[in-house]
Amino acid sequence: MNEWCRKKPLEWQVYVNKEVKVTAAEQEYQGWVFTVDPVSANIVLVNFKDGGKASIVAVMGHAVEAVDVLREGDSSMADQLTSLFMPAGARSYSREELKNRKNSLRDWLEKNRIPFTEQGAQQETLCVAGVLTVNPPYGPEDCSSSNEIILSRVQSLIQSNPGCPQDQ
């Protein structure tokens, strides 16, 4: 195992969002560190190209000979890197939006006379009829239950909520 593989996750994390030059097996690779896999020590490097494309190169941990930091990335680079691999349409909601979505769902459930309780450290989870839970952001995909029939019923109910702000 080489020196790179022997590092700890906290040491690898330091390299994230930095532009580095990696020497491996007589080749040099340069790019912004997206991540270092803690299992294999593989370094994932990103280079943004013109035309809305990004070229990704991953150097296997066992082949890494040296890693030199060229420069630090700012927060916009960090955001760019993170959003690269996030699934399309993924968005994070503010506390205000989450509260509104929860209240909208609560009102809709009450209107349809479905019993529910609120659970969790911040009362963020809705427990419907004791068998189904809805987590933030309270969309149809955020329901979990071991009862298929109730699951599909509640999912279509949530889908048909007229008061809920639609994303798409």
């Binding site: 195992m1 700890k8 996750p9 906290l10 690898w12 994390q13 994230v16 491996a24 097996a25 080749q27 690779y29 997206f34 991540t35 270092v36 896999d37 803690p38 299992v39 294999s40 593989n42 994932v44 943004f48 190209k49 809305g52 494309k53 990004a54 070229s55 990704i56 190169v57 991953a58 150097v59 296997m60 066992h62 082949a63 760019q80 959003s83 690269l84 691999f85 996030m86 399309a88």
Partner: protein, 130 residues
């Protein structure tokens, strides 16, 4: 569309339970070693931050693997071997990559397993949705 060649079956490599196999060799370490190396004795707070770092890094790596599925990937391997293939998946220890339509000098292998210890680097392109 290239015609795939028939599968070559190579002899099975040694696993850790075969007789006469050296447990201190790099290959044994790669195939049979426990995946997550634990740190030495650390206190609770350090362990927590180490675990947080570990899961942060691993999640990002897994997402990069997901982004790679069904894309053309170039693998640079030892002995100056460079091959193209369509990435299909990886195992949990990142020891093997499953690929399809692997272009080799012998022809196109419809399905193949690439051993990660043989790989130096791999690269692919994606659209950066900006």
């Amino acid at each position: 569309m290239k015609t795939p060649v028939c599968v070559l079956r190579l002899p099975r490599g040694p696993d850790g339970t075969s007789r006469g196999f050296d447990p201190s060799s790099a290959r044994y370490q790669a195939l049979c070693t426990p995946t997550i190396s634990a740190s030495g004795p650390v206190d609770c707070v350090d362990l927590r931050s180490e675990q947080r770092a570990r899961s942060f890094l691993r999640e990002r790596y897994l997402r990069s693997l997901i982004a790679m599925v069904k894309r053309n990937v170039k693998f640079t391997m030892y002995e100056k071997v460079k091959v193209d293939a369509v990435f299909a998946g990886s195992d949990i220890d990142i020891l093997n990559f499953q690929v399809e339509d692997l272009e080799t000098p012998l022809g196109v292998q419809k399905e193949a397993l690439i051993r990660c210890p043989d790989v130096i680097s791999y690269s692919f392109e994606i659209d950066s949705s900006l």
